[in-house]
């Protein structure tokens, strides 16, 4: 599109103003407030603002209604496009209308059709014209900021470059990739494509299904699976119903037997139980009648036995006593058979004893104290004599002439001794007394008083003789003999006494004499063994009879207690017999016990058990029926067949979603293949910006881009961010960006750019360079340059 003219009639301050824009570089110069910005706005609104506006949108347009009281604004734009000259007329406000016409073409007045046609001829979006191809007054330095802020509405320059490297006006690859990614995400979100299952399905299962970010595939899969699960649940419910049905069938089968039993034998229960009672009664009465008969028969016999016993008892008791006496005598006789011999021996011992006592009485018996003194004296005398003998003294007398000496040695009395000149010698015990010539010479043993000993000895001997004399003996031995004889006699007495006492035993002699007397007075008896045997036979017979009588008495007592009397018993027997006869008759009239049963009780218990089972099964049946009904209610109108059909449809939906997702991935894959290696176009773009920037600033500069925008500017060794550039350099970079972007956008579609005093912050030198570049740009694309700076206009026109 190439603009030719613009007419404002009215628009803003212009009531009817037409400007020629047909030159490749249309310069509209003039001082401030002449309406340059109004002109730019008129062109923009003519191209992009619809005439049918909401009240709110209309308010935005009202500033362009002429004052005072203007109710509309109108712009007419002429331009060339597609080989034709078009006229576009738009009126906003009162009489709003849109019209697009060209020679040889049907005029268009439908606003949306006109908008579509304009978009087709412009080849660029409104956003592109707004933020890239039009530079408003003082906006140049804001270029990078604006591009960032309106990124969403603008085509990414990288994709534009990729597209334009092929064909201009192509699809925005980045946006296409983004759209594909979004769609793929919408399709595959939460879907594990490799396993063809939801992500983490093994953990979450159907109990915890994904709820957030569920993609189309998963959603379709869930819907399919839920119906499948529901179908499986229906089938499972049907199986459960079958289980309950089987239980009911089983209960029916069980109940059938029990019902049959009750139906068959239930009515017989009472008669059979009656029969059993009669049988039991008869079984009880039968022995009772027998017993009564037996008692009736035994009662008189028992009475007779008891009476006879009363008669026989005294006689039998007497006989018992006789036999007991005989047995006692016989026992005594036999047990005392040695009594006479013993008695004779006793008498003999008694005599011997009495004789010994008499002998002893005749013997003197030395006083033991005397005998003791004698013994002691005898011993002492011997000891004393030994002591004296032990003090032997040897003496020797020498005389010059024979001489008679008195000499007393030891116990010997003094004797005269004539001693020759040869002397004399001798020895004596303990003491030697020599007397001669008036001289008495006494020698005694040194350690004991010999005289004391001698005195004791002499006194002892005297006492001994005295004591012996009292006994009538002369020697100690004789005295001892006396003692021995007496002792022997005493021993004989003791022996005889012992023998006698032994014969006496525990009895006295008088008792012996009485006993032997009694023995000899015992009556004659049979031998003890014969008597004992006779006694045993007798007592046994008596005991037997007594026991029998006791039994009979006890029995009779019991009978009397039970039956009172024999007559009363007869009455009881008759009644019982009659009862039994009646019962037996009744028994014959009741039905017999059916085969297979041991008793009516057993049958009755079986009937009770059957009824109990029926009752219990009734409960179970109720539970099973209730459960079956519940299950059937749970199934409701749902049919597994219908759900299977529904599942088939949902499976197809799922497969389609999967196919769609895979197709999207295929598109993505092919797209990437097609755009691979197209990144070089960005470097050309950057080089173009660097070239313009370097030319304007007269300094070589290199740019580093992040994404589609410059991030750093390197000039020599200095690297700065665009924000760190001076205002002039920043404007130069912005102009370079604008022109490079415009070239890229307009490369194929054609079109124009509008620059509203872009160089206000450029020094004259840079402004001149910039204008040269713009002038060059206008060789390829239409430029509408609005300025209040005459020098800028001059540079452009140079």
């Amino acid at each position: 599109m190439r603009l030719k003219t613009v007419s404002l009639h009215p628009f803003g301050r212009f009531l009817d103003e037409t400007r020629d824009l047909s030159a490749p570089l249309a310069i509209i110069a003039g001082p401030n407030e002449v309406g340059k910005t109004t002109l730019r706005q008129a062109i923009f609104h003519a191209l992009f603002t619809p005439t049918k506006l909401t009240p709110g949108k209309l308010r935005d347009m009202q500033p362009w209604f002429p004052l005072p009281g203007g109710d509309h604004a109108a712009v007419t734009l002429t331009f060339e496009s597609q080989g034709k000259e078009w006229t576009l007329r738009k009126i906003w406000g009162s009489g709003a209308s849109t019209r697009l016409s060209a020679v040889g073409a049907v005029p268009l007045s439908d606003a949306s059709v006109v908008a579509g046609k304009l978009a087709e001829m412009l080849g660029q979006s409104e956003a592109t014209y707004n933020y890239v191809l039009t530079t408003a007054h003082t906006e140049l330095e804001q270029t990078i900021t604006q591009l960032k802020e309106n990124k969403e509405d603008l085509r990414d320059v990288r994709d534009l470059l990729r597209a334009t490297s092929g064909t201009a006006g192509d699809v925005d690859v980045q946006k296409l990739l983004d759209a594909l990614s979004k769609r793929i995400e919408v399709c595959f979100s939460r879907w594990d494509n490799q396993r063809e299952l939801p992500e983490k399905h093994e953990v979450r299962g159907f109990d915890d299904p994904w709820k957030q970010k569920v993609g189309e595939i998963l959603d379709a899969w869930y819907q399919w699976q839920y119906v499948r699960i529901e179908r499986d649940e229906i089938v499972e419910l049907e199986r459960k119903i079958d289980t309950q049905t089987a239980i009911l069938t089983m209960l029916d089968a069980k109940d059938s037997k029990d019902r049959s039993l009750i139906a068959t034998y239930g009515v017989q229960r009472s008669p059979l139980l009656e029969r059993q009672a009669l049988e039991e009664k008869n079984a009880r009465l039968d022995p009772k009648v027998a017993e009564l008969k037996r008692v009736s028969e035994a009662w008189p016999g028992s009475q007779a036995t008891i009476e006879k016993w009363k008669t026989d008892k005294p006689r039998l008791d007497q006989r018992t006593r006789q036999l007991e006496d005989e047995k006692t005598y016989a026992w005594k006789r036999e047990t005392q058979a040695s009594l006479p011999t013993n008695y004779q021996n006793l008498v003999r011992a008694k005599g011997e004893y009495e004789n010994a006592v008499e002998v002893l009485g005749k013997l003197a018996c030395p006083d033991p104290a005397v005998m003791k003194e004698i013994d002691n004296l005898a011993i002492n005398i011997v000891r004393w004599e030994a002591q004296i003998s032990a003090q032997s003294l040897a003496w020797q007398v020498a005389v010059s002439e024979p001489k008679t000496l008195s000499i007393a040695g030891g116990m010997d009395p003094a004797t005269l001794l004539t001693v020759s000149s040869d002397g004399a010698r001798g020895s004596a015990a303990g003491r030697i007394e020599l007397q001669a010539d008036g001289i008495t010479f006494v020698v005694t043993s040194g350690d004991q008083d010999f005289d004391t000993l001698r005195g004791q000895l002499l006194r002892g001997k005297d006492r001994l003789r005295e004591l012996l004399a009292t006994l009538g003996v002369e020697t100690v031995d004789s005295a001892k003999q006396l003692v021995n004889v007496h002792t022997d006699a005493q021993s004989v007495v003791k022996t005889a006494e012992a023998k006698f006492k032994g014969q006496l035993g525990a009895r006295t002699f008088a008792e012996w004499e009485q006993e032997i007397k009694d023995f000899h007075e015992l009556p004659p008896t049979r031998e003890y063994a014969i008597v004992e045997a006779d006694f045993m036979v007798h007592t046994k017979s008596v005991d037997g009879q007594e026991e029998d009588v006791q039994n009979q008495s006890q029995r009779l007592k019991e009978w009397q207690e039970q039956y009172v009397s024999l007559d009363q018993l007869a009455v009881t027997l008759a009644k019982t017999q009659e009862d039994l006869d009646r019962s037996q008759q009744k028994l014959r009239e009741t039905p017999p016990l059916p085969p297979g049963f041991d008793s009516a009780t057993q049958l009755s218990e079986m009937l009770d058990d059957a009824q109990n089972r029926l009752d219990a099964n009734g409960g179970k049946r109720g539970v099973a029926e209730e459960e079956r009904n519940r299950l059937q209610r749970e199934i409701g109108d749902r049919r597994s067949e219908d759900l299977a059909e529904r599942a088939e449809i949902l499976e197809r939906t799922f497969r389609r979603s999967l196919t769609k997702g895979r197709s999207l991935r295929r598109i993505q894959e092919v797209l990437r293949q097609l755009t691979a290696g197209s990144d070089h176009v960005m470097s050309d773009f950057v080089a173009r910006i660097e070239s313009i920037f370097s030319q304007v600033t007269h300094a070589e500069a290199k740019l580093q881009f992040e994404g589609s925008l410059p991030a750093h500017v390197r000039r020599g060794d200095l690297t700065v961010t665009p924000k760190q550039l001076s205002q002039g350099a920043s404007g130069a970079l912005a102009l370079a960006m604008r022109l490079a972007l415009a070239e890229t956008h307009l490369q194929e579609t054609g079109g124009f750019i509008i620059l509203d005093d872009p160089l206000v912050h450029f020094d004259s030198h840079r402004a001149a360079e910039a204008c040269a570049i713009i002038r060059d740009f206008s060789q390829r694309h239409q430029v509408i340059f609005l300025t209040c700076h005459e020098d800028h206009a001059a540079y452009l026109q140079a």
Partner: protein
Amino acid sequence: MSIRIVHTADNHIGIKYLKYPENIRKTLVSERFDALERLVKMANDKLAHFFVVAGDLFDSTQVRVGDIEKTVALLKGFSGEAVLIVPGNHDYCSGPDSDFWRRFRQACESVDNIHVLSTSQVREFEIDGRLVQFFPCPCPSKTGSDPTTAWVATCDQRNSDAVKIGIAHGNVTGLGLDAADQYFTMDRAALEKSGLTTWLLGHIHVPFPPTESGNQSTFFMAGIHTPDSVRVRHQGSAWYLECEPHGVVAYQQLKPGRIRFIRLVLDLANAEDIDRLLQECRAFTPAETVLDLQLSGQLGKEDQKKLRAATNTLSDQYLHLSVEQDLRDRIDAGVIAATYRSGSLAERLITALVDDRDFPDAATLAHEIIQEVSQR
């Protein structure tokens, strides 16, 4: 004179057709009765001695009493010797009797020729001096793994001079389409060895033998008497049989059904395909046809309009129409050339995808996305 039998099964009286609109539902429910009535009339026209239902006369044991009474009223119309009904797995009978069949018997109280054969016991009839023995094998439950026919082989009541006919319901190996194997599957060889010359069967909704008439077959699957869904492709089936002690001497298929459920699965590529679709539809009587279209493919804008018009017409004409569509805008070289500049990325992308048979939708999808992105 042969014993004449009309054999039906799987009548499924009581299906509610809940997925259909109310007015269609009524028609479909009514058809099940109407087709049964037509079949009874056919049986009477054939002077059949027996009208045998080999299971699933009813769709469930929860069928309303009104439907039971209506069914009994129709069966009362049979003028032959007896109507013999064997419970199938849908209308199973647990034990000799059940609440459901008790209700049915109550509805039959005034009729003496309708018999529910709910126990595995021989039922004998004498027709003109000829003994006919039926060996019913009722289903005791909805599902079951063991065949119900085992008792026949050990039955000692088979009379060599009698016409001996088994009646059973369930899957039969080699005959059935039911692969679930949970519906009393019978073994074909075992049935042949059972000592009976004829088996009247039900369950799989598909008739057997495959020929419409003949004079020799041991097994007969009645097929559903009137279709109940698109799975039934025939127009409703039952058998008329002439039986002798040595087996069937003649059989003929009866077609009591009227309403058809037709599913057409078509891949549409152009207007001719749409015409073909309409042509195929015209083979079926609109007022008696429930149409289920599964359409896929790619159509141009004009063709899509034509298809919309066609389906609208079908919807107006046919008893019911349901359409499951998987259709996309047709993308071909002409569309690509008209839409995209030659050499453009869009043109190259779609061209690369348009012939990709592994991803037939990819080109259309790509076109849609490009259009969407371009209009932003």
